[in-house]
Amino acid sequence: MGKVIEVNGPLVTIQLPNIRNGEQVRIGKLGLMGEVINLREANALVQVYESTDSLQPGEHVEGLGKPLSVELGPGLLGQIFDGIQRPLKKIMELSGEQVIRGLSVAALDREQLWHFVPSANIVSGENLHGGDILGTVQETETIQHRILVPPGSQGEIIKHAPEGDYAVEEVLAHLKDAQGRVHELKMYHEWPVRTPRPYHSRTQSEQPLITGQRILDTFFPLLKGGKAAIPGPFGAGKTMVQQQIARWANADIVLYVGCGERGNELVDILETFPQLTDPHSGHPLMERTFLVANTSNMPVVAREASIYVGVTMAEYFRDQGYDVVMVADSTSRWAEALREVAGRLGQMPVEEGYPAYLASRLAAFYERAGSINTLSGDTGSVTLIGAVSPPGGDFSEPVTSHTKEIIRTFWALSKPLADARHYPAISWIESFSGYESRAKQWWADHIDPSWSHRRKQALSLLTQADELERIVNLVGPEALSSTQRWVLESANLIKDGLLQQSALDEIDSYCAPEKQFAMLEIILRFHEMGQELITLGTPVEQLTQLPDNSKIRRMKSTFGNDQSEQLQEFGNNLWEKLDKIRAEYASTSEIAR
């Protein structure tokens, strides 16, 4: 038994013999949860995950003998957990609408029975290793939960349970290892959150993560197992982009970590996702989704933990052979939690008060993304997408600039675009993707071989237009040639018709890759044919006043994902019309000649 020596905000100095660094402790009458972060002679420094209000020196402290760990087993999906994996719906039943301090609630429901089907190779005498699949539980209609032998356990099966309904605490198998020790295997196991889970080997992913968002998929692709960041000032639509990814990404499991953000955003997901269907499986989205919530008014230290709690659960599903997407909103709040603890520890601040280890912590976190071969010989991936909230929208601040060096896909949000209500407000100038060369193969195999070429053309049109606009702003539009004005018009068509996408429009919210490419193709071909007409002498006005311009701008919400034929026909009609104009001008220019 130890005691409290000093209380300084979320940091508590305790005296407790034999305590280890990283060990969890329970503090005081209320039983507040905390974690030892520093040992100094006889004293230990604890960061407490809950508010330390009303805590006094002299209150007792006990060590729990293990580091911060999460429970991994059936019953995670569809749930909302707090920053240290306590189930918030259960907490609501126990303590009402406010989170009472010191509650100790297991993450997984101990009462619920799951129908367990043992794997075929589970027979007495067989040898099992960590990561092997003991059996399966159909957790939701879409997700079959594979019960894993915890990494680190191995041995010969001496006893095992038959198919049937079990609660998570029941022992399903006994393993005897080489030393003769017996391991009891249950439906769940625990894993310390700050230790990455082991895997067999890393693989090179070639599969793009399809989100149904044109600017992401077509222009700045992300691969399964990749790492991406979404930085943006407030009001630029970060949350909306992340929710769209959580909704439509072609992953098996989606984990949304609300780290220091608004409570209402998580409620929005909890209320809307059960009513939405996954476009890939046709089942309710909530069946593949779960949430970790440490909202901005919840204790700061748990915010630091929430990111690790999330990524450990993501790795667990990866180890079952699933493609997992984890969205972390926002990594800046996580970094600020680091800063707060560092500041109270009196550590030397380096940039804007952040401690020197900010960059290495960020890098280590993003390194937990990846696509891998699991220990049982399957493949799985964790894709990490982190939002960044730079103060004042300044991308040169420490969190954004360090993140930018670590990630491969950068979706930069722009305030001027958001102010014009151009959503998603992702800047085509500042964003980049280091995965384009690998995504190209998939698009070529599944959609169209010219994808990479067309994408470059569109991007180059956008860059040219940006330059031309600068000229216009200096000397006015009259200074431009007809071809240049046509470039501007086409770039605007790309912006309005392709890049802009309404999350609220039923048809436009998710855009299948086939439709994305078909739209890109139509706009670029319209541009090319227009250019040809202009060289023949057609005035730009005649082209811009065609009613088809506004039809092209609206094709995203006119044609559904299953209406590719109609879209094709729309294009054909357009080409016919332009051919007619060309015929007119071609003949006149011949006469002139």
Partner: protein, 462 residues
């Protein structure tokens, strides 16, 4: 321990009082401090150990001496007694009456810090509040349970705008009125008086609870005042089933008081000297707005803050914008053109608008019209910019019609009287009247059906 008085001050500095440990002071505990004249000051334990206790004194440590200062630990955090009798009353930051009437006596007593609301217990805010102001209703709708700040600057009419919202806010189909909690920190006497007479003249005074800390009151009290006010609001909303509108002014004064204490404590500063925890601290206040499942009442929060030198990237508006669900930004330029309310449309935003408008709440075309107005107005501003460089004669016909649109938009849509209450249908009809000055092919955010139904393009006007 309540009875014991300690005389164990070891040092005093600014608003901080250092005491010997050993009294088992709890973090956040309220203390009362008696000086040699017998005057009582209030303080709060902000750090405690076996050897030393650090107390933050609201009234500052001026005139205290080490020998003749007695400290009493009250065993409780700051608490507020709650009763329906609070309505119509004026209190200071810690809930003591300022209106020379007796203090509130009640068996319902709550800690002013509250406890974080379980996100799983929240209900998503969806009901449209009509404020009668076109720039808010039409473009940045206020939703019941939202936190929507007004970003202003010195000399801009944020108080008049807030007062107009308070006067006019209602649900289109609900007669029940809002109860108002008004919290003022470091504001001038005349500003407080303005609100008081506003409430009086509109006859809502009996439905208002005021918490005031004037510019010459102790600044440290500002740190607790919004918490006290929100504790009262929570009681009115969740226990008495009222819909509560909370107006807090001015959050900049709050943040400055926080910075002052942080500096005294020696906390590591992050930006502009504000402590790194400014974000979490502001969130503790703002996140107390909202709706809760199975509760009838709600808390809608309108914080007002003045942006230092009109800089929206200053830490206070910046961090606020990351927490709140949008912002109404006021513009000095519009104000100097005598446009009231001078709402700067492009940077203003309401995040909850998408779920509280449209077919079920206002009118089917509302979301698209709002998006179209935004897009057309920003396009028009670009054209105006261009005109200032190359002269308006050089502009294309199309750009000129956009500039005309912008002028009309500012003078008819943004501009409105302080007593003018426009229904949302009037606002939407006005929007179409303005959009009709633009050719239909320029309107890509609305559907073709919308155009047929509402757009009356007259090319002679363009």
């Amino acid at each position: 321990m309540k009875q014991l008085e300690y005389r164990h001050v070891t040092a005093a500095r600014g608003s901080l009082l250092f005491l010997k440990g050993g009294a088992h002071a709890a973090l956040g505990e309220r203390v009362s401090i008696r000086d040699k004249e017998g005057t009582i000051r209030n303080g709060q334990v902000i750090r405690t150990s076996e050897k030393m206790v650090l107390v933050q004194v609201f009234e500052s440590t001026n005139n205290l001496d080490i020998e003749n200062t007695w400290v009493r630990y009250l065993d409780t955090p700051f608490e507020l007694a709650l009763s329906p009798d609070m309505l119509g009353r004026v209190f200071n930051g810690i809930g003591e009456p300022r209106d020379s009437r007796p203090p509130i006596v009640s068996s319902v007593v709550r800690s002013v810090n509250g406890a974080p609301v379980n996100p799983a217990a929240r209900a998503y805010p969806r009901e449209f509040i009509q404020t009668g102001i076109s720039t808010i209703d039409g473009l940045n709708s206020l939703i019941r349970g939202q936190k929507l700040p007004i970003f202003s600057g010195s000399g801009l009419p944020h108080n008049r705008l807030a007062a107009q919202i308070v006067r006019q806010a209602k649900l289109p189909d609900d007669a029940s009125n809002f109860v108002i909690v008004f919290a003022a920190m470091g504001v001038s006497h005349s500003d407080t008086h303005f609100f008081q007479s506003e409430f009086e003249s509109s006859g809502v005074l009996r439905n208002v609870v005021m918490f005031t800390n004037l510019a010459n009151d102790p600044p440290m009290e500002r740190l607790i005042l919004p918490r006290t006010a929100l504790t009262a609001a929570e009681y009115l909303a969740y226990e008495l089933d009222h819909h509560v509108l909370v107006v807090i002014t001015d959050m900049t004064n709050y943040a400055e008081a926080l910075r002052e204490v942080a500096t005294e404590k020696g906390d590591v500063p992050s930006r502009k000297g504000y402590p790194g925890y400014l974000y979490s601290d502001l969130a503790e206040i703002y996140e107390r707005a909202g709706r809760i499942q199975n509760r009838h009442g709600s808390i809608t929060l309108i914080p007002i803050l003045s942006m230092p030198s009109d800089d929206i990237t200053h830490p206070i508006p910046d961090l606020t914008g990351y927490i709140t669900e949008g912002q109404i930004v006021l513009s000095r330029e519009l104000n100097s053109m005598s446009i009231y309310p001078p709402v700067n449309v492009p940077p203003s935003l309401s995040r909850l608008m998408k779920d509280g408008i449209g077919r079920d709440y206002t009118r089917d075309d509302h979301p698209r019209v709002a998006s179209q107005l935004y897009s057309s107005y920003t396009r028009a501003l670009e054209a105006r910019n261009l005109a200032s460089i190359i002269g308006s004669e050089e502009l294309s016909q199309r750009d000129q019609s956009f500039i005309k649109f912008a002028n009309a938009f500012e003078n008819q849509f943004i501009q409105q009287g302080e007593d003018e209450e426009r229904s949302i249908i009037e606002t939407l009809d006005l929007s179409w009247e303005l959009l009709s000055r633009l050719p239909p092919e320029e309107l890509s955010r609305v559907t073709e059906e919308d155009i047929q139904k509402y757009h009356s393009w007259d090319s002679s006007l363009g």
